[in-house]
């Protein structure tokens, strides 16, 4: 097969930091190439160079054998390269078709006005041709994340690209959406497109790839065909050591039948006055990991916001160790012994622009150890930081720098170190491993299990079904703001959970 993209000794330096070091790739026409590596391995930098967003420090890019200087995205699109970014570049107040045609609008004849009818017609045809589920006139803000991704893909296809780069395409998708995406990408491959997928999820790599390139610390450490390798080998190349891909969760410990946390008839409205949590009640026992599963956007996010004090409930009670803590603020909840790992690290967990030390005491500003006579003891705070760095193996370039410089996994470890340090009785873990590298995922999972094994309670919300299933002792499934069923993860298959997630209640099946 012919080469379609080649890079020769491509290098990118940011100051002294070498993000990509002499990368030589050879991607063949019509293949699906997966580029894997831990966070910070240089995958995104490499792709940004191919797409003209970042200029290489040295080295060459050849497209179909000819050298191309990528100066901006238009050059890349001009030679047939399109990119779907991890964080979608969509305008949420515009419609699907307006986003797809952004920059290449169709004008009415002899008029400066845009021909919206013609645009809608064209987009509708594209959607049909590619067997996708989308409505061209929906606004981006009203559609799901999976649908948004389809818009991004169509945006590139409309520009007649034959090489499609996808940056972490499955990071935010539900299992079903991942399957749909894989099907779409395979369809595109059949149409002769070349596809490059950046990911760190190995299951998808094995399902999708024809060949795999592994990056580590800016270097290519592996270039293999799929049939010659397996998940374990790739993980070893990525991390540099053997990684345990399955969680060691010994569920033999005893769950005491002592209810420590109880939610009664909770109702929550969203900004439009719509019920997003509808009469939800559940009880959590001491010493168990209680999982809340469901397709994203079915109320889990609002539920955890209410339980962690970020949002107010309309009615209902939340009872912690016999004490009513409904609608308390996060600070009070932390005092009552709840540790909070929020859903969005940088929105509500950390302050990106502040130092690591400042973030290590965030939420615990009243701690007598660090605060005396209204003044903070910065030496003590730095000691706390150093302790966390040691105990949680937090890797960072500059201890005194801002937390925004840390990788996702390390930033998440700061939050976990901070929340566990106050010795809470209950840990609210919301998407604890989202956007975190494999090595850190393993570490975080072990910390959560260790915390539970000490007799504490964990409430776990995650859109990663495998995470919920491997960690939890008991799982409830949410659909449209209601609980559709409770299951024991050791006894139930993924198929049955899938049904609950789609709103088909488990009890009915048993009745028949």
């Amino acid at each position: 097969m012919k080469s379609i993209i080649q890079t020769i000794n491509l290098t990118k330096k940011f100051g002294d930091f070498v993000a990509n070091n002499n990368i030589s790739l050879d991607i063949k026409e019509g293949e699906i190439r997966c580029i894997v590596g831990e966070n910070g391995a240089g995958k995104s930098t490499l792709m940004n160079m191919l797409y003209g967003l970042v200029a290489p420090s040295s080295g060459k890019i050849l497209i179909r054998g000819e050298e191309v200087k990528m100066t901006n995205p238009l050059t890349a699109i001009g030679v047939g390269i399109g990119m779907v970014h991890q964080h979608f570049k969509l305008v949420s107040s515009l419609t699907v078709y307006e986003n797809i045609l952004l920059g290449v609008e169709i004008k009415k004849k002899n008029s400066p006005l845009i021909d919206k009818k013609e645009e809608i017609k064209k987009v509708a045809k594209m959607i049909e041709d590619n067997h996708l589920q989308l409505n061209p006139t929906d606004k981006i803000e009203d559609i799901s994340i999976g649908e948004r991704q389809r818009v991004e893909i169509l945006k590139m296809l409309y520009r007649n690209v034959d090489i499609l780069i996808l940056d972490e395409p499955t990071a935010v998708l539900t299992p079903k959406e991942v399957d749909d995406l894989i099907a779409t990408l395979k369809l595109l491959k059949e149409q002769g497109k070349t596809i490059i997928v950046i990911t760190h999820k190995l299951r998808e790599v094995m399902e999708l790839a024809d060949s795999i390139t592994v990056l580590k610390h800016g270097n290519v450490v592996g270039d293999v065909l799929k049939q010659d390798t397996d998940e374990k080998e790739i993980a070893r190349m990525m991390v540099g050591r053997d990684v345990c891909l399955t969680v060691q969760n010994d569920r033999k410990h005893t769950v005491e039948k002592q209810v420590v946390y109880q939610v009664d008839n909770l109702n929550v409205l969203n900004d439009d006055g719509k019920k997003v949590i509808n009469n939800v009640s559940f009880k959590v026992n001491k010493g168990e990991i209680f999982g809340i599963a469901g397709v994203e956007g079915n109320g889990q996010s609002e539920l955890i916001k209410v339980l962690t004090g970020l949002m107010e409930a309309e009615s209902g009670n939340v009872i912690l160790y016999g004490k009513n803590v409904t609608n308390r603020w996060p600070k009070e909840l932390r005092k009552e012994g709840i540790g909070i790992i929020p859903e969005d690290r940088y929105a509500t967990g950390l302050c990106r622009e502040m130092s690591v030390s400042d973030n290590c005491i965030a939420g615990y500003h009243d701690n007598k150890e660090i605060l005396k006579y209204g003044l903070y003891n910065s030496k003590k705070i730095d000691e706390i930081r150093d302790k966390y760095i040691d105990e949680f193996d937090i890797r960072l370039g500059d201890k005194n720098g801002v937390i925004g410089n840390l990788s996702g996994g390390n930033a998440q470890k700061v939050i976990i170190a901070r929340e566990l340090a106050s010795k809470p009785k209950i840990l609210m873990a919301c998407q604890p491993t989202r956007g975190v590298d494999i090595g850190s995922i393993e570490f975080i999972h072990n910390e959560i299990i260790k915390f539970r094994d000490q007799g504490n309670t964990v409430i776990l919300v995650s859109s990663e079904l495998s995470e919920i299933m491997s960690l939890s002792d008991r799982v409830i499934v949410m659909y449209k703001g209601q609980i559709t069923g409770e299951i024991s993860p050791t006894e139930v298959s993924t198929v049955e959970i899938g049904l609950l997630m789609a709103g088909i209640k488990g009890e009915n099946k048993h009745e028949k």
């Binding site: 967003l53 901006n72 995205p73 238009l74 699109i77 990119m83 970014h85 570049k89 969509l90 305008v91 949420s92 107040s93 515009l94 307006e98 986003n99 952004l102 920059g103 609008e105 004008k107 400066p112 006005l113 845009i114 929550v268 409205l269 969203n270 900004d271 439009d272 006055g273 916001k305 004090g309 970020l310 949002m311 107010e312 309309e314 603020w329 929105a347």
Partner: protein, 303 residues
Amino acid sequence: MALLNSILYDTVYHSAPIILCVIGGIFAYKANVLNIALEGMMLNGAFVSVLVMYFTGNIFLALSSAILTTLIWGLIFSYFGVSGSGNVIVIGLGINFIVPAIAKFTLNMMGVSNISLQNISVSDFKIHIPIIDSIDIVGSILSGHTFITYLAFIGIIIMSVIMYQTKFGIYVRVVGENEEAAISLGLKTKLYKYLAILLGALCAGLAGINLSLERMCMYTNDMTAGRGFIAIAAIYCGGGKPLESSLYAILFGISRALAVNLSINAGPMAGIFDTIPYIIMVSVLATVSYMKFKNVRVRGYTF
């Protein structure tokens, strides 16, 4: 009846400059470079048009120099705010301070407290619309305004079309809402910010000309009296939508018409009524904000 008639006529009269600032300012607002220099730019239009008219007597020269100099302020604002990534609030405030200062300095040098034009009169600018003029009450309210006043109202429709039906409008909105999306498709984001600001400057310049030359044939210091800021309030209340924001502009026009007409009949109490537009502005802003966040259950608002 005469009072009501006069209030309605004045509503149209006083709304026009605010509407102009609004429909020009919404583009910069949508492009995420809120132009708080509208006030200074408007004053520049008012000052330069009357000054040039005073010295040359050439109406064409007066208009073009007023618009050109206002556009230069727009360029200065864009250069520092967009190319230089400066803080647009600080730059805008700078322009709002320096324009009245230049005007006051010039008047001082001329040794006058205001410029009154002798070579042209207010009635020269009034346009009577043929058919509407002959209708009883409607005619006396809608007819007999100046060209730019009519232009302001027609401008609402023109700007709506530009905002929603043309590439320029879409690009401006995209640049403001998600600049990265625009960059990833190779759109020249800075260009659209410049154009949005310059469009606002053009409209503010016209508003200034309307205020001084067209309506009064004179320039007095600080004659814009906060209309640029009222326009910003209207833009904010209307969420940058041409029609909605213009309706708020008209609301502020009504309040000024009320203030003017009531104070004529109020004798020594007149000063009190001058506060009406500002009181209404603060109350409307507070109400709009309250309505916006009334149903938000998430703590902290920023989500």
